[in-house]
Subunit: 94 residues, 7 copies
């Protein structure tokens, strides 16, 4: 299993087909297109300049929308994951 550091999050990529079931359709335009995924692991948080640790807002199991070009791909145990910074996550799908 992957344990992300700091303000990083591991996201399981959700395939395009699944996306329509959640009601989120990504428009076909010239703008940057977000992508949907499921959070599978979160880091322990970002440390501010004050030395305080700020916990992440997202948690395991959250469905999230993130910028398509963000993060680094990792393939573990046959699944495709993305390691993102929390700041690359736009919104949680509720």
């Amino acid at each position: 299993m992957l344990k992300p550091l700091g303000d990083r999050v591991v996201v399981e990529v959700i395939e395009q087909e699944e996306k329509t079931t959640s009601g989120i359709v990504l428009p076909d335009s010239a703008k940057e297109k977000p992508q949907e995924g499921k959070v599978v692991a979160v880091g322990s948080g970002r440390v501010t300049d004050n030395g305080e640790k700020v916990a992440l807002e997202v948690k395991d199991g959250d469905r999230v929308i993130y910028s398509k070009f963000a993060g680094t791909e990792v393939n573990a145990d046959g699944k495709e994951y993305l390691v993102l910074r929390e700041s690359d996550i736009l919104a949680v799908v509720e």
Copy 2:
């Protein structure tokens, strides 16, 4: 529904036709043109370097003017939304 993270805001885009009813007309010039929208969801706020959370100034239902090139388009439940940072919002229309 989309719940934006941090200092992000979800805005429902207001079509060009609607805009004249609110009295806001966007000029036809070489300058960057702002766009109008309605806030439908706000994040829990930005965390400062001191570890304090600063709540957003805008709230659900606010009509806002934002920079045209800001944010990321998301299409959920057949409506076009924009996920913006609050700092991309110029002003609230009152």
Copy 3:
């Protein structure tokens, strides 16, 4: 009416003709030329990294000099406005 966010200010643009009456003449040179306007609305202030809100120095009715290339044009109720950050304002004309 427009209510600007944070450290933003809404300025009513003053036409070139009016400018001579206030005694401010903008030179014809290669340098960046400032422009004159009247403040019609101010934001509630900038939030520092400490989480403190710093009120703006300018107030409604102030005649101000600002950088010509700053801000975003908005046309509301038939008048031309500019939404600027306070830091784009150089000086108040007293």
Copy 4:
């Protein structure tokens, strides 16, 4: 009269001829050449990230050396002024 904002300063430009009387001669080289002026108005100071206001070091009447390419020209009441940030001022001539 112009009242500069924040850490800005209004400087009356001193002509090249006057400069020799103060004993400051600007060298003829490839390096950036400073310019001399007289402070006629100072802002109320810069606000730090702590929310504290830091008063300016220069005051009305100071003769100052500043970077030639700094600031914005304003022509008020027939005189040429420059609105500078204090950080563009190199030294006070005493």
Copy 5:
């Protein structure tokens, strides 16, 4: 032995062959590919702007995923090491 400074970490590079045994397979795509390694030494931590020292999250012996293009190669005692900043480490493999 190498003792890294501040928030730096010395990582022993794990060869491509070993990688399949840990179940981490790096995908063959246009995205930035991470690399796997074993932490052999960690710095004493980063000093925040408050003057506080923040200890590192990783420790000796951790298997880590890091960005392929990060760090500086050093070859000591016949082994290939990489000196990285902790912020270049994406996740710990558990």
Copy 6:
């Protein structure tokens, strides 16, 4: 006399000939070459984001090594001076 502002320092340039007497010889290579000078005036210090003033480390009379391309030349009373930020000074020659 010139009184530098903030963290600035006025340095009297030491000619190439003098340099050999102090034992400092500047190498003839592709790297940036430092230059030697004598501090003749120091600013009152830099103000941190906390609003605290931090006094300079160098003082009048110090012989210093500084980056050749740093600072602004000023010629006062027939002597060539350089106004530098303290951060452009590499070391004091003791």
Copy 7:
């Protein structure tokens, strides 16, 4: 002797021949290659935004690995020195 300012360090460059004796061999690749040296003088430390002085981690006599392209060469008393910021030092060789 040279006394470096702030977070700077004076390093005596160790020739390529000596390097093999310490067991550190620098690889022949396209990556940035570090260089080895001996610390001969350290500054009094960096001042944080809080006004606190943070002492350096390295001390006189430490053998250090630093980035090849960092720092400024100074030749004093016939020896070649490098003035570096501590942040350019990767690790201490123990």
